[in-house]
Every structure is written in structure tokens, then in C-alpha cells.
């Protein structure tokens, strides 16, 4: 049942070079996500509104946007939890180039996963035995804390260090590196350590913690980065001895 009330929704439009804000009046429903609001505008008010979504259930990580100044997964964000009065301001994710309206170019974000060696480095072949790793293995448990990342880039967008240091690899890529470093099946620890020890690596993190505060899956990239700092420090001191 629709409420009698309405929402005032301002949306950032345009590309990287030419941006403006459009305001829409949207019917308020008692059960409504921010993505519902954006879809309603696209379907009823302006079919040229460009945005990105896929699964609508918080798994694919494609619908993240800035909602009233805060990065959020819009498909799982209830309007009532994001409203300021009856007002919503929706913008593309911060810290990424805008393609059009609410769609950002995610290339820099994913390129940094590669730069951080955030991909599996296998050493075994199909002829080898499986590496047996018990669920209670401490390193496995540490890795488990970070593997539910859905690549939504909310942490990357929330990070003030990324904002001021475009080279910085960012929380998601570094957390991925940390999970792989703790994965006994990954055979290139030193490659990962070198990748996160450079001038764009984990040591640039100021531990401000926005990544951990805003991660929609309640992961803790800040602690993962702290883990990388500890591990890189240990290994650097060992190398020098």
C-alpha cells in the first residue's frame, strides 16, 4: 500500500565533464529500497536515467551509489534508513570516474586488484593431491574473515586515502591480498608482499576505518590492511638481518 507521502529525490546526472542535479518527486512506500526509487524514476519519469544493477539481493555488488553522501549497496538499503527528512540525494560512487549519471568506470578499482596480486597463484597441477586445509586452521580462519567481498567498491569509495592518493591500491584489493597471503594453497607469498609494499601499497593506509564502517557485508578491510602492515614489517626486518 503506498503511503500518502512523497520523497524528494535529487540525482546527479551527466558524465565526467558535464554534471548537474535533477530533482524528482517519487511516491513513498512503506517497504522501498533506494534501488527501487532509482528504478521508479527510470521507469516513470526519465527513461534516459542510467544506473547499474543485476541481482537485487546484495550478492553481485553492482548497484553501489552515494546515498545522501554515504556509499551504500542500494538494493539492500531501505529508504527509511537513508532518508534525511523526506529527502534523498543519489550520486555515483566517489573516487571513480563517472561514465554517465549513476554509472562509474570500475576499471581503476579492478586494475588495482591485479596490481595487489589479488588473484590466485597456483602451484599444484590436476595430478597433485589436494592441499588438505582444516576449517579450524588459524590462517584459514583469518582468510575466511575477508573472503565474502562482493567487489561493490563501497570501501574504495568511502576511503579518504584513495580520495587524496589516486595511486593507493585501496581497501578491497589489499584485503584480497591479505586473504591470499593467509591461503596455504597460494604459493607466491613474496610476490604478494612485494606488491603491497610499494609506494601505492598498504603502508599508505591511515587507519581511518571508513572501509570497515561502510562495508555492507560487515567485513573489516582496515584490520586486513593492519595484518599486511605487520606481515610486511616482519618480513622486511627478516630480510635485512
Amino acid at each position: 500500500m503506498p503511503d500518502t507521502s512523497e520523497l524528494t529525490v535529487t540525482i546527479q546526472r551527466g558524465d565526467q565533464h558535464d554534471q548537474h542535479m535533477d530533482t524528482f518527486t517519487v511516491p513513498a512506500f512503506s517497504n522501498q529500497t533506494v534501488l527501487d526509487v532509482v528504478s521508479w524514476i527510470q521507469q516513470n519519469e526519465d527513461p534516459t536515467l542510467t544506473y547499474r544493477f543485476a541481482c537485487r539481493v546484495g550478492m553481485c555488488g553492482s548497484c553501489a551509489m552515494m546515498v545522501n553522501g554515504v556509499p551504500r549497496w542500494t538494493c539492500r538499503t531501505h529508504v527509511k534508513n537513508a532518508l534525511k527528512g523526506q529527502y534523498l540525494e543519489i550520486a555515483p560512487l566517489r573516487n571513480l570516474p563517472v561514465i554517465k549519471d549513476l554509472v562509474t568506470d570500475m576499471d581503476p578499482f579492478f586494475d588495482k586488484w591485479i596490481d595487489a596480486e589479488g588473484h590466485h597463484h597456483a602451484s599444484l597441477t590436476r595430478n597433485d593431491e589436494f592441499a588438505a586445509i582444516t576449517p579450524t586452521n588459524p590462517k584459514r580462519m583469518t582468510a575466511n574473515e575477508g573472503i565474502e567481498c562482493i567487489n561493490c567498491a563501497v570501501c574504495y569509495s568511502a576511503c579518504d586515502t584513495v580520495k587524496n592518493n589516486a595511486e593507493y591500491l585501496g581497501p578491497a584489493a589489499l584485503q584480497r591480498a591479505w586473504t591470499l597471503l593467509n591461503d596455504d594453497r597460494d604459493e607466491q607469498d613474496e610476490t604478494i608482499i612485494d606488491a603491497v609494499s610499494g609506494s601505492s601499497g598498504c603502508h599508505n593506509c591511515h587507519s581511518m576505518g571508513s572501509c570497515t564502517v561502510y562495508c555492507p557485508n560487515e567485513l573489516d578491510p582496515m584490520s586486513a590492511i593492519a595484518g599486511l602492515k605487520r606481515e610486511t614489517t616482519k618480513r622486511a626486518l627478516r630480510r635485512r638481518r
Partner: protein
């Protein structure tokens, strides 16, 4: 703009400064508590190798720590980059070291 080497240098210099700052503050408070004049303080520090090494070490730690810290601010807030960032870092460090050691010399060297 910090790599592992700069990160380690900044952490080690910070760790060095903990005892330096504590001893500096405590001694300063105790010394001034009785109403010491500058002349009386200088009479105790001048010619003292211990105070020369103490404040010499303090100045070295501060120069390293501050140069790296200011380097990060210069990069993140003012976009200083590449070779100029290195020049800036070294200049800040050298300036702090020079002025600091000059002060240490004035306070702890034996007067002519």
C-alpha cells in the same frame, strides 16, 4: 606515497621519540619547578656529553619522522609528486636536522 622502507623509518623514529619526549618533559618540569634561570640550566647542560647525545638523538629522530610525515601531507593534500616530492622530503629533513643540531650544539657544547 609510503613504501615499506619509509614506513619502517617513520615507525622506528616514532618509537625512539617515546622515551625522548617523556624524559624531556619530565626533566623540564622538574628542572623548572624549583625556579631555575636559563644561565643555571646552561651551566648544567654545557659540556655534558649525555645531554648532547640525548638531544642529538632526539633531533635525528624528529628530522626523520617529521620529514616523512610532511611528505605524505605534501603528496596527499598538495599533489607534490615525483622528484620534487623527494627533494621536498630531503629538504624538510635536512632543515630540521641542521637547525636542531645547531640548537643542541648551542646548549650542550662547552663554551669557548
Amino acid at each position: 606515497m609510503l613504501n615499506i622502507t619509509l614506513y619502517l623509518l617513520q615507525r622506528v623514529s616514532a618509537a625512539m621519540m617515546v622515551p625522548f619526549v617523556l624524559v624531556h618533559l619530565v626533566v623540564m618540569i622538574i628542572a623548572v619547578n624549583g625556579g631555575l634561570t636559563a644561565t643555571e640550566i646552561l651551566s648544567r647542560t654545557q659540556g655534558s656529553l649525555v645531554w648532547m647525545l640525548f638531544y642529538g638523538g632526539f633531533v635525528i629522530a624528529v628530522s626523520i619522522h617529521a620529514a616523512i610525515g610532511v611528505r605524505v601531507i605534501a603528496y596527499e593534500w598538495f599533489g607534490l609528486n615525483g622528484r620534487w616530492l623527494s627533494v621536498f622530503t630531503w629538504t624538510v629533513g635536512a632543515l630540521l636536522l641542521f637547525t636542531g643540531l645547531q640548537a643542541v650544539h648551542a646548549v650542550t657544547a662547552t663554551p669557548l
